[in-house]
């Protein structure tokens, strides 16, 4: 291969690699910022961080709400059968969109916090389902 052509090809490839590196660096910084925001919201108990992969057991532990209370609010009569079911699975079983189930859980948690302010978690209105969610997140 002609040396000049080789230089041109290598130069173009180097520019592409550098461009990709810069783009990926910016994306990484943005991802770190989003992670910090998301983690802050989760630790503060913001209900907008409830996700379709969460189980009722997981939500109860993370948002400090009694598990049975959540089952009752979702009208689930046999909790043992759905203890390991994600919200997505619960929604599929109820033939409901998963966002509706998340919305019900969010409402239930907020209602519980209003009724029991001594639980330690702030009564975060956050953003209920339907409104914009935590930054950068989409339902998996």
């Amino acid at each position: 291969m002609n040396t000049r052509v080789k230089f041109v090809i290598l130069g173009v490839l180097l520019c592409v690699a550098l461009g990709a590196a810069i783009f990926a660096a910016i994306t990484t910084v943005q991802a770190i910022q989003q992670f910090r925001q998301q983690h802050q919201l989760t630790t503060s108990g913001d209900v907008s961080t409830i996700r379709p992969w969460m189980t009722i057991h997981y939500i109860a532990l993370t948002y400090h709400v009694p598990e049975n209370y959540l089952y009752q609010s979702l009208h689930i009569t046999n909790p043992q059968q759905v203890r390991h079911a994600t919200l997505r699975v619960l929604a599929d079983r109820a033939n409901q969109p998963v966002d509706d189930v998340i919305h019900e859980v969010q409402k239930a948690i907020l209602t519980y916090r209003k009724q029991n302010p001594q639980t330690g978690m702030p009564i975060h209105t956050g953003q209920l389902n339907g409104a914009p969610r935590a930054p950068g997140r989409e339902n998996p």
């Binding site: 290598l10 180097l14 990484t28 996700r51 997981y58």
Partner: protein
């Protein structure tokens, strides 16, 4: 995000440890399941008490080593034939046999690093590297230690991050994914820069050699006479 992830997560919670093992195994063998995200999620569920984090680490390590070894032996069984075919076939016009030979020699030199780094830093390339390592063939007794040491990191990092950050594991996954792409692009840029510098140096040396070559040798090589250079003249008698 992979379309398989929600399905794997549902199965993970429904059937527990066997699903983790199987998912990591087929991901390591080359199936497009994001094993790091599965482990992050498993770590988050372990934090909630659904799984034992140490058992998860052992299962993830064994599954990934088995999956990698499967990929390696698939490469060894069929990949060698493919490479031999590429080298000899007249149908292959895209990659020259010399380029394949050079690639094989380079892979032999860097195989240990390639195997180690693709376990945790560039996991997307892990399946391909297993196949190439088997096809080359890179000795299994060297492949296995590099694989195990890399896979220890690939199991421990996402599991511990998932365990530490719980519900934010998806955001952690985004950070790991973008960092992996960044590292890969940076590595490619570094390699290309070094290659460019080496090519420039080689080209300069060749040019100097050409200048030093006697005119008749250059004429035989290129078919053209070099320009007249007084510095290279010798034995000229002064005209009186």
């Amino acid at each position: 995000m992979s379309i398989f992830l929600p399905i794997v997560l549902n199965w993970l919670l429904a059937y527990g440890y066997p699903v983790i093992w199987f998912a990591i195994f087929i991901a390591s063998a080359g199936f497009p399941i994001p094993s790091a995200l599965v482990l992050l999620a498993a770590g988050a569920f372990a934090q909630a008490g659904d799984f034992n984090i140490f058992l998860l680490a052992v299962l993830a390590l064994s599954a990934s080593v088995c999956g990698d070894s499967t990929g390696y032996f698939i490469g060894r069984r069929w990949g060698t034939k493919v490479i031999d075919w590429l080298e000899t076939s007249k149908w292959n016009r895209f990659i020259s046999p010399r380029a394949i030979e050079r690639g094989r020699a380079r892979f032999k030199k860097q195989a240990a690093w390639a195997v180690f780094l693709t376990r945790f830093l560039f996991p997307a390339l892990g399946g391909v590297v297993n196949l190439i390592a088997g096809a080359d063939p890179y000795p299994y007794r060297y492949f296995l230690p590099c694989d195990i040491s890399g896979e220890i990191l690939s199991a421990v990092i996402p599991l511990s991050l998932g365990y530490a950050f719980g519900a934010s594991w998806e955001a952690v996954g985004d950070v790991l994914g973008s960092f992996s792409i960044f590292a890969l692009a940076l590595l490619a840029a570094t390699f290309l820069t070094l290659y460019l510098i080496r090519t420039a140096r080689r080209s300069r040396v060749e040019k100097l050699d050409t200048m030093k070559e006697p005119a008749i040798v250059q004429f035989k090589k290129t078919g053209t006479m070099p320009p007249d250079n007084p510095a290279q003249r010798s034995g000229e008698l002064p005209l009186s």
